[in-house]
Symmetry: C2
Subunit: 190 residues, 2 copies
């Protein structure tokens, strides 16, 4: 999506360790005009798929997932990153290793929020090694629901997680895919 | 807001320690039809205030804040609960004590995301003792921005935080205010 790529080039910041900081418009601060356009593109890609739930993981995935779910007219569900005192009852859980934070954590969704009648679209802000997505996909499978696909705002294609999932048959659509990244330059996939 | 009150009575769950669990429709799972109506009410209350930013705190505040910011056509900013490896540069910070989790944490916003020209609406899902709101208000003040007011989805009126802030001159609007809560019943403010 050209407008997102242009925004990344203009306002993104490359930090050591292949970290792309997009807090100015996509995470900690969200440009809602751009968000509306990304939601429009997501609707174009998945609007015909009879989706019943949008699933993401806290915290930076919630803005995009909420906006997509509002557009599709379905509930948004987010996985929590730690078991919380406020989450009672049965949960689906999956372990996730974060390369950014060099630590493992568990994601959890109250099991009554997804069931075998759901057609689930997973969304997230970033896809790199794909570990968070694999955790969310595991939760969809545990629930016996149908995984329609995954829609990601920014994929770091050079880290391989997206293509690995595509090779495994998962529909993964990313609004921008970065195939090369140096300290000062980015190259997007055609 | 009658529809929210009815939803709380129908789908909310009271847990020990005056915890009202609304994960089924307001936090971990978000009913986006209800969310749209809450956004409409927020626009009615604050739409004429020339707001330039909506500020909240991760994670469960992000859905409501995103939806309000999209409607008002302004950016959404969320405070992070811990300093993150991905947040670089100057930050405004404030300490917050959580009664729910019995622990203190720090909230932080990259300082370039709010400035002295901003008219800020703070939103959150819950208001109880008001500690999270006070932290967010502190960040707005540190930035030299104008605090227009606070819009909360559910206020636990009996815990006093909202009325304390109102007495201090802050405009606090809550879409539902619970004034009494027992193990089995709720009473809303007129």
């Amino acid at each position: 999506m050209l407008e997102l790529e242009q925004k990344i080039l203009r306002d993104g910041e490359i930090l050591p360790g292949y970290i792309l900081k997009v807090g100015k418009f996509l995470n900690q601060q969200v440009d809602t005009d751009l968000l509306k356009k990304m939601v429009g593109e997501t609707e174009r890609l998945f609007g015909g798929e009879s989706i019943t739930k949008v699933l993401t993981v806290e915290a930076s995935g919630i803005a995009f997932a909420t906006a997509v779910a509002m557009r599709l007219g379905v509930p948004m569900v987010f996985a929590k990153k730690h078991r919380s005192a406020n989450v009672s009852g049965e949960q689906y859980t999956a372990p996730v290793y974060s390369y950014t934070h060099k630590t493992s954590y568990e994601i959890a969704v109250t099991s009554s929020y997804i069931n075998e009648n759901d057609r689930v679209l997973i969304t997230d802000d970033f896809l790199a090694n794909g570990n968070a997505l694999k955790g969310l996909i595991s939760i969809v499978k545990q629930a016996g629901a149908c995984l329609v696909g995954c829609c990601i705002e920014i994929e770091k294609g050079f880290q391989g997680g997206g293509d690995e999932l595509r090779a495994a048959g998962v529909r993964v659509e990313s609004l921008a895919i970065i195939d090369e990244m140096t300290d000062s330059a980015l190259k997007f996939r055609e």
